[in-house]
């Protein structure tokens, strides 16, 4: 997209940018909760580093979303003054941190996705987005490497760490499906040549995730259609504002100060 003049185009682009921005904001926020509480100091530093990258990406993307929208909303307006149902992040990223295995498995699933997505988006004709994606690609390569190393350590470490990692993967699996589904928003942007084709990401993600899980000696859960087990159904709807109950609490905490004094500058 060279300019934002066409109304419909503008809306899908804003929608797409909110999806990207919100994923990174919410996961960055969750990871920041570890700071000061991690298993070793090195990990306080590493998780904070990753959170900082994600929050930086979120800030740039939400800023761009506000620009494209053209209603004078800043990245802070978008982060602090929207309701849960207006957030477009995946349910995956809003889940509470759980134990370290849960945090790592989620980070690995998301980073694998983020890395593939940024790799494609850095070739966008929309240059501002391509620039943000190029930076995101480099950063997510590190996130992916870091989380992969821990997947292997925990999967292959002790009996306890293996059990916890298997549990984490089982718990998280139902949140991964919707990450790989693209709808009319992405299709429209592809049709307009704003972003490249995203259709290979799902299979690439499955291949990459399976390879690491296998190496980590973790059993790959079945997708719902295969398992038939109650409670394991894949979640959906996040991209349209349908969330778990956790998001409201996360936002209540995140937004409290900004919303208590809406006229203040900080």
């Amino acid at each position: 997209m060279k300019n934002g003049s066409d109304h419909g185009t503008k809306n899908v682009l804003v929608e797409f940018l909110l999806r990207l921005g919100d994923d990174r904001l919410i996961l960055g926020h969750r990871l920041s909760e570890w700071c000061g509480h991690a298993p070793i100091l090195e990990e306080d530093i590493a998780l904070a580093n990753i959170a900082l990258d994600l929050l930086g990406q979120a800030s740039a993307i939400l800023h761009l979303a506000g620009d494209v929208e053209g209603k004078n909303r800043t990245e802070d307006d978008l982060a602090y003054f929207r309701e849960a149902t207006q957030f477009k992040n995946l349910q995956l990223v809003e889940q509470p941190n759980g134990d370290f295995a849960f945090t790592i498995a989620r980070l690995f699933f998301f980073s694998t996705f983020n890395n593939l997505l940024c790799d494609v988006l850095q070739k966008s004709s929309y240059e501002t987005l391509a620039g943000i994606a190029a930076k995101g690609f480099k950063e997510s390569s590190y996130h992916l490497r870091h989380s992969k190393e821990w997947m292997l350590r925990l999967g292959g470490g002790t009996e306890e760490s293996h059990r916890r990692m298997q549990n984490a993967v089982n718990e998280l699996w139902r949140f991964t499906g919707e990450m790989l589904v693209f709808d009319e928003v992405e299709t429209e942007l592809q049709r307009l040549n704003t972003i490249p084709d995203l259709s290979t990401i799902a299979s690439q993600w499955s291949g990459a995730a399976a390879a690491v899980l296998t190496e980590a000696t973790i059993i790959i859960p079945f997708r719902q259609k295969d398992s038939g087990q109650a409670g394991n159904h894949a979640v959906s709807g996040s991209r349209h504002g349908f969330h778990s109950e956790y998001l409201g609490h996360l936002l209540a905490e995140m937004q409290i100060l900004a919303r208590s004094y809406p006229d203040a500058k900080w």
Binding site: C35, A38, A48, G156, S161, K265
Partner: protein
């Protein structure tokens, strides 16, 4: 080693100290020097790590993305300082785990300042301004101390702390120029943090058990009172610049000495907090113990995995 050898070594050590040379890990040093340094460096490291908690308390509630990012980066830097300092202590023949266990058992101390709560967002600004400001005054001196690894660690830390202090003061200045509520938050935070910040330099030198020895060995180059005075002299004009009142009715500029005179410090409060009875001592220790307990299986897994990798090679 016989006594005369020891005496010769001690004399050489003393003359190196007085010549301003740095003592390096492999150099001979008196046992007492080594012990004092381990105590000081590990207390400093523990302070950085426990110090992550009061500020970490506001990461999830920071009022803008920019503030959230800079606060998280700051707390991350503190973890980094903890790492350099534990490494500096390790050059003296202890290991990090041993030191951490001393912290967790309550045997080792950390700066009393981190046992106060962060109650409003302005606390984040005021901590950067006062607590990092006081730390810089102290660490600028320690960057010149006689033990090489500790001196170099402090040099690096000071660079980052200067940045933190500027960031903190900027939060304060922004809020002080903001709404009535924001000004009230800043004044409230200043009222709570001012006196505990002055206590950070430790008791007066005549009541500080370690001072004389540390000064003689050039681990410290200035007395606690000198450092405290320097901090007050630096900070008073900064408070005036943003129209914030420091909570001391006796604060007066003395033209003759060119120093700011200040009121009496409540040392009873200080010792009480040091002994474990501050507002947040229990919470801080509980948070560190919980992180350590919850992380035990992760550390065990990392060790087990490395061992397996080695065996497979």
């Amino acid at each position: 080693m016989n006594t005369s050898d020891e005496t010769t070594l001690l004399e050489r050590f003393k003359s190196r100290i007085s010549a301003g040379e740095k003592i390096e890990p492999k150099d001979w040093m008196p046992e007492r020097y080594r012990k004092q340094l381990i105590r000081m460096i590990s207390q400093h490291a523990h302070s950085e790590v426990v110090g992550m908690l009061p500020e970490g308390n506001w990461i999830t509630r920071a009022p803008s993305l920019r503030r959230k990012i800079s606060l998280l980066a700051k707390v991350q830097d503190e973890a980094g300082h903890g790492m350099y300092l534990y490494s500096a202590a390790e050059t003296l023949g202890v290991d990090r785990r041993e030191l951490i266990e001393q912290l967790l058992s309550g045997q080792a101390k950390y700066s009393h300042i981190f046992n106060y709560p962060t109650l409003n967002w302005a606390d984040i600004g005021v901590i950067g301004w006062f607590v990092d400001g006081a730390a810089i005054v102290n660490q600028t001196m320690l960057a010149k101390c006689s033990y090489g690894p500790y001196s170099r660690a402090n040099l690096r830390i000071c660079k980052e702390e200067n940045f933190h202090k500027r960031q903190g003061y900027e939060i304060v200045a922004t809020m002080a120029a903001g709404t009535t509520e924001q000004r009230e938050m800043v004044q409230d935070a200043v009222n709570r943090w001012w006196w505990p910040s002055l206590m950070m330099f430790g008791p007066s030198d005549n009541e500080s058990p370690n001072s004389a020895e540390l000064l003689r060995w050039k681990v410290k180059l200035h007395s606690n009172d000198e450092l405290r005075q320097r901090f007050v002299d630096l900070t008073v004009p900064q408070a005036q610049a943003v129209n914030i009142t420091l909570p001391d009715s006796e604060l007066r500029y003395d033209k003759k000495t060119q120093h700011w005179n200040f009121g009496k410090i409540n040392w009873e409060e200080f010792w009480n907090v040091v002994k474990g009875n501050g507002p947040c001592n229990r919470e801080r220790m509980a948070a560190r113990q919980k992180a350590d307990n919850d992380g035990a299986w992760v550390r065990e897994a990392a060790v087990a995995y490395t061992m397996k990798q080695r065996m497979n090679r």
